[in-house]
């Protein structure tokens, strides 16, 4: 499938979950293109399928039917091991609940994805410091997550998402657990990534104020694109 400058190309994508004897359609025949460097926000009410779509694009869930090409690769066709490698090299994750490892310092949390690469210690250090510097936490490297504020924790999580220099950053309600001030800081960082670092950012949110930071916003309703 030709990319035509799009980093993500989705065609006729459906996802059906089986809950006992009932089939629940989470995504219904979605087609979507996302351009490289775009800051796309996915909006919609709870259960609309926005997180499911994000997970399929990021390669942590598989569609029931349809195609999802990211950087020209049909991620649904990769096996578990290939997907893991692909995620490590191409996708950065930011979650609502930060999900930092509590026993590791900010530096070590950010370094974690690099342990899977062939970089040596000094190369890893350089990349970790760059990522932490980018999110404004160069002076918090040795702090444990419990010694950081919620906003700082989420910025460490963004640094962890960036450290492997992925083309795609996916964020699932990244400001959901933050106060408005911290949320603004995080959204500015994500905006910066798309605008100045050329990353493609896809963010799920149900907050219109957060969505305003994106360059484009799409709405999902009962598994379908509503505009």
């Amino acid at each position: 499938m030709k990319s035509n400058g799009n980093i993500v190309t989705i065609r006729n994508l459906s996802k059906i979950y089986q809950q006992g004897e009932i089939n629940v359609t989470a995504l219904d025949n979605i087609s979507l293109d996302i351009a490289a460097g775009e800051f796309l926000t996915l909006m919609g009410p709870s259960g609309s399928g926005k997180s499911t779509l994000l997970h399929i694009i990021a390669g942590i869930d598989r569609p029931t039917s349809g195609e999802c090409h990211v950087q020209g690769i049909d991620v649904a066709q990769l096996n578990e091991s290939q997907l893991a490698d692909w995620r490590n090299q191409n996708v950065g994750f930011v979650f609502q609940t930060f999900n930092l490892i509590p026993v590791l310092t900010a530096y070590e949390n950010v370094e974690l994805p690099l342990l899977l690469t062939r970089l040596n210690r000094s190369e890893r250090r350089k990349q970790v410091e760059t990522a932490l510097d980018l999110v404004g936490l160069a002076d918090r490297m040795k702090h444990l997550p419990k010694q950081l504020s919620g906003g700082q924790e989420q910025r460490v999580a963004i640094a962890r998402a960036l450290v492997t220099d992925p083309a795609l950053v996916v964020a699932d309600e990244p400001t959901g657990n933050l106060d408005s001030h911290s949320a603004q800081e995080v959204l500015k960082v994500l905006q910066l990534l798309a605008r100045d670092a050329g990353k493609t950012v896809i963010m799920v949110t149900h907050d219109p104020k957060a969505a305003a930071f994106g360059s484009r916003s799409i709405h999902l309703e009962k598994g379908e694109l509503s505009n």
């Binding site: 893991a84 090299q89 994750f93 979650f95 609940t97 999900n99 070590e108 370094e111 974690l112 342990l115």
Partner: protein, 381 residues
């Protein structure tokens, strides 16, 4: 940070639980090693050359039944026998002690060296043992325990024979597998007890190992269909038979060992399951950022293996140090004279720990392998 550092930090994140888990493994392995050493001790085969050539002859009905002393002449005539001595348990009580003190046996003093060649004693001791009627020689362990020395006189009241006898210690021996017994002259027992012409059993030494089967067969046949049929057997077979009189000790110890290992498995598996269950969400994150199943399995295995091996280091290592450098013979009143933690037992203890570490990691690893990232992310912290 390196992968091993990451594993170590994870393993020690709940220090109290990790410490308790390691200690429970350590205590269980210590118990396992102790049981294995005790089992080895009580079933220890006679290893010296003398023992390999020794034969015990006892009453076929029971070791408690006596044998007629007249059998001696018939046994001595059997080709291949180098020396024979009667060996009769006296059952004496020392200083009115109620518990077990040390065993006393009556024998032919001239046959001590030929039959029990591994016995180490001064030449003067041997000579006096042969010459003086009330002479007795005693093992080093009992001599030390009761502070007995050459020249001391002791009085023992028999619980088997209707007599009380006085002995003079003329020698202290060592070098036997059990340096606790007291040996004295059989003719002195015959005279004092008034029970003449009966012995407890016979110990004999064959000329060579090749002649052992023939000698045993000849003795058994010699007294077949007589009023005192005998059972002749090697020293090793005799020891095992004697131990079996206590019940099936080996089976009992094996069952206890199995229970220890099984409990250990449950403890370790439970600990690992808890440790992984509370980190399900984090493991899902690791999966999301690119860690593969085999890497997560390696993390869990390394953590489980590490906990088990730390327990082994303390439990097995502690048992080794305690039993090697501690005086177990003294602690157990000579019941376990050597109590050696052999390299084989250390190996078994370590292997059990390693297997526990591996088995305990299987269930959590399977759960993590089956977990999808999306399901893992839904897990509550």
């Amino acid at each position: 940070m390196t992968i091993p550092t990451f594993i170590l930090k994870n393993a020690l994140r709940n220090k109290r639980r990790a410490t308790l888990s390691i200690l429970s493994v350590a205590v269980s392995l210590f118990l396992l090693v102790t049981l294995l050493v005790a089992l080895r001790e009580i079933t220890l085969p006679a290893e010296d050359v003398g023992a390999a050539l020794r034969v015990a002859v006892r009453n076929k009905i029971s070791i408690a039944n006596l044998l007629p002393a007249r059998q001696l002449a018939a046994i001595e005539r059997i080709p291949g026998i180098a020396a024979v001595t009667p060996f009769t348990w006296y059952g004496g009580k020392y200083k009115n002690e109620e518990g077990m003190t040390f065993a006393q046996f009556a024998m032919d003093p001239k046959k001590l060296r030929p039959v029990f060649g591994e016995t180490k004693m001064s030449e003067a001791g041997y000579e006096a043992f042969e010459k003086e009627k009330d002479a007795a020689v005693i093992g080093r362990i009992s001599a030390e325990k009761y502070k007995l020395k050459v020249g001391d006189k002791i009085t023992l009241e028999s619980t088997v024979y209707p007599c009380t006898m006085e002995f003079k210690i003329v020698g202290i021996y060592s070098g036997t597998p059990d340096d606790r017994n007291m040996l004295f002259r059989h003719d002195y027992l015959d005279e004092s007890s008034g029970v003449e012409g009966m012995v407890g059993m016979w110990w004999l030494r064959v000329s060579s190992a090749e002649e052992m089967p023939g000698v045993i067969d000849a003795i058994n046949k010699k007294f077949a269909n007589t009023s005192a049929e005998v059972r002749a057997e090697t020293e090793r077979a005799f020891q095992l038979g004697f131990i079996s009189m206590w019940g099936n000790i080996k089976l009992l110890v094996t069952l206890v060992c199995s229970a220890v290992v099984f409990t250990l498995l449950l403890v370790t598996a439970s600990t690992m399951s808890m440790a992984i269950r509370e980190r399900f969400r984090e493991l899902a994150i690791l999966k999301a950022i690119g860690f593969r199943r085999r890497e997560l399995f390696a993390f869990i295995l390394a953590e489980s293996f590490g906990l088990a091996m730390a327990g082994a280091l303390i439990g097995v290592g502690g048992a080794y140090v305690l039993f090697t450098y501690g005086d177990v013979a003294k602690l157990t009143n000579g019941l376990f004279p050597s109590f050696e933690v052999t390299s084989k037992i250390v190996g078994i203890g370590t292997l059990v720990a390693a297997m526990l570490g591996i088995i305990a990691s299987i269930m959590p690893s399977l759960a993590v392998a089956k977990m999808s990232v999306t399901d893992g992310l839904k897990t509550l912290d």
